[in-house]
Subunit: 372 residues, 2 copies
């Protein structure tokens, strides 16, 4: 059995695969975008993930290729598969994470609950959608968005005029869901079919970026937990996802859940599993892409909370704040990404587990606050 | 604040520092004994740890030097310190781990409970010790022993004749303690003085090698737990240990504890902390040698158990057994050292946590059994 995993992309998700890879005895190789990336320790190659020759050469020496992000172009992915290389998730699955219109169509076929949506090819079509949905809508570029980029709330068609001009093909229009909160469901799936779901979590976004996660989602009924897990498994199977899948969800006042976004990789909403679950999403991803049996997803404590550390002024070194944060919060689990701080940039996170949710939220925020 | 830690020695203890180093943002550099060692991923140099020039050159680019083992000679350690390099634990502390006679004398000065012992320089002196202790004793070479090597139970002086001939200086004779079980106490200490104790654990040795650990030690009274923790702190402070200290203990029928051996580094009896405590001993060691505030030592579950994986026939690849072990035991935490299996060689371990001790012991043994 081969145990060499090649990760395309050298960001923090690849970095956080290093720890479980070392413990499992998985040989991790990373194709990084440049020198000094977050996953530099495991970087065995530096190059452009859009270049077929670069990626093919990198893939030749591993047993399976997986990803730190979903941006590897389809022709590159297809070339790998055509060359007999195991790619997880594969190109057929990844297209649903790469193009939000393709995803919406497929989720509709699967009967997955989602916001009203339409492909709008012109300002006139967007006007019709706005008229049908109370005069406001979310408009998204189908490709290339992340962390709130490529997403805009509009109340008039000309507010998307620049995108209609720049984007080749229609935009995605979605109803503005009157959600009460946001949730996320993590599911792992192996090529041979085994699936494992984590408990659904609550996510708190600020400025389009994940800020906090509470696991499991507070006040979630058993019915909700089961519905979310079932939906995650349905999507993982329906889209043929291998590895980790994150399903970002809206919850409505009447306890319905609607699919917002998908990510086919370890995801920020699953970072709590590093310290709060038997098997972290990073280890689970490695197991899944290697088609090894999945690990237990049970929580280790009643509650886990994750607070992102967003970079402040570039001249303030993160490590200088370590001693203070650690001294005040000895139970806080501090994770750093080895990235130079920039305002708003995700440079680390703090996990905390325990049985008193209010206390651990307070304490994790306080610990993360030392780095702000 | 510097965050570069240099580890002398590339074995599994250095390897298991990699995971917490990556997460904390600590730059780990390893001076390995050869190519392909367990900690190869972090190896930045290969060379002889007994050579002053090799070690000094390695140490120049780190903020603190620490160790995978206690075998670096005192002249090398002193040269580092004289060169202004931070060394943790330092040579003054390490001498107590390097020479069991020096340790016994110092523990006696500290009033630490230990077996009756004597420095015996001849077969006549050993005969006198045997006569005073019921005709049997443990004889140890003061230096160089580990995992049962350099330790012998004798009932006649000539059974140590070869050691008297080979060893420069006296041997250590110790009474055969009628212990009911063996325990181990883990303590961390920073240069600036902060200490943190883990709960005392029970260790089960087979053929002089640690086989199983249960944390905390079953049926341990609060008095015993406190006495063990206090003893660990006394020794850490009395010997000036920085980093992790493991105190191996005998427990007697009347619930006394006696010091058996010391290790000044992460130790096999503390591997359970990787999955069973808020802060693992490997992260704690990094924090301690960097003089960062120590992490919480609280257990994450009622019980944790660690079972060593000892190598079987050299031709049986470990990874082939992964799928079976994982499939049957999804909650088992499997750690491998990247070492070629040899009969009896420690090549990995399995951790398991839970609230039913009998069940997790059974399950961890079963999971480890797949690799035997």
């Amino acid at each position: 059995m081969g145990m060499r995993v090649g990760v395309i992309g050298g960001g923090q998700l690849a970095r956080m695969m290093i720890a479980p890879a070392v413990e499992l005895g998985v040989e991790l190789r990373v194709l990084a975008e440049g020198e000094g990336m977050a996953a530099a320790l495991a970087a065995t190659a530096v190059g452009d993930y859009r270049d077929i020759d670069t990626v093919t050469a990198f893939a030749r020496d591993v047993d399976v290729v997986t990803f730190d992000h979903e941006h590897v172009p389809q022709p590159v992915l297809r070339a790998l598969v055509d060359g007999g290389i195991a790619v997880h998730p594969g190109p057929d699955a990844l297209q649903f994470a790469q193009d939000k219109l393709v995803m919406r169509r497929r989720l509709a076929e699967l009967g997955a609950p989602q916001p009203d949506w339409a492909a709008v090819a012109s300002e006139a079509e967007l006007r019709a959608f706005l008229d049908a949905h109370g005069g406001r809508a979310v408009v998204k570029t189908p490709r290339g968005g992340y962390d709130g980029k490529g997403v805009r709330v509009v109340s008039a068609p000309d507010e998307a005029a620049d995108w209609f001009a720049a984007v080749d093909g229609p935009l995605l229009a979605e109803e503005l869901v009157p959600f009460t909160r946001e949730l996320a469901q993590q599911v792992a799936r192996r090529a041979s079919g085994e699936v494992a779901a984590y408990p659904v979590v609550e996510t708190v976004q600020r400025d389009g970026v994940c800020a906090e996660v509470i696991a499991p989602a507070p006040r979630a009924s058993e019915r909700l937990m089961e519905a979310a897990a079932r939906l995650g498994v349905t999507i993982a199977e329906g889209l043929g996802v291998t590895g980790m899948l994150a399903v970002e969800l809206f919850e409505t006042a009447d306890e319905r859940i609607l699919v917002n976004e998908l990510a086919m990789r370890p995801h920020n909403s699953g970072h709590w599993t590093q310290d709060g679950a038997v098997t972290s999403q990073f280890e689970q991803h490695l197991r899944a892409v290697l088609d090894l049996p999945l690990g237990a997803t049970d929580p280790l404590a009643d509650w886990a909370v994750m607070i992102n550390i967003l970079g402040g002024p570039a001249d303030a070194g993160l490590t200088d704040r370590f001693a203070s944060a650690m001294a005040e919060h000895p139970a806080a689990r501090i994770h750093t990404y080895g990235k130079a701080p920039r305002p708003g940039r995700k440079v680390g996170h703090v996990n905390l587990t325990g049985d008193d949710l209010d206390r651990i939220v307070y304490e994790a925020r306080a610990a993360a606050g030392f780095f702000a």
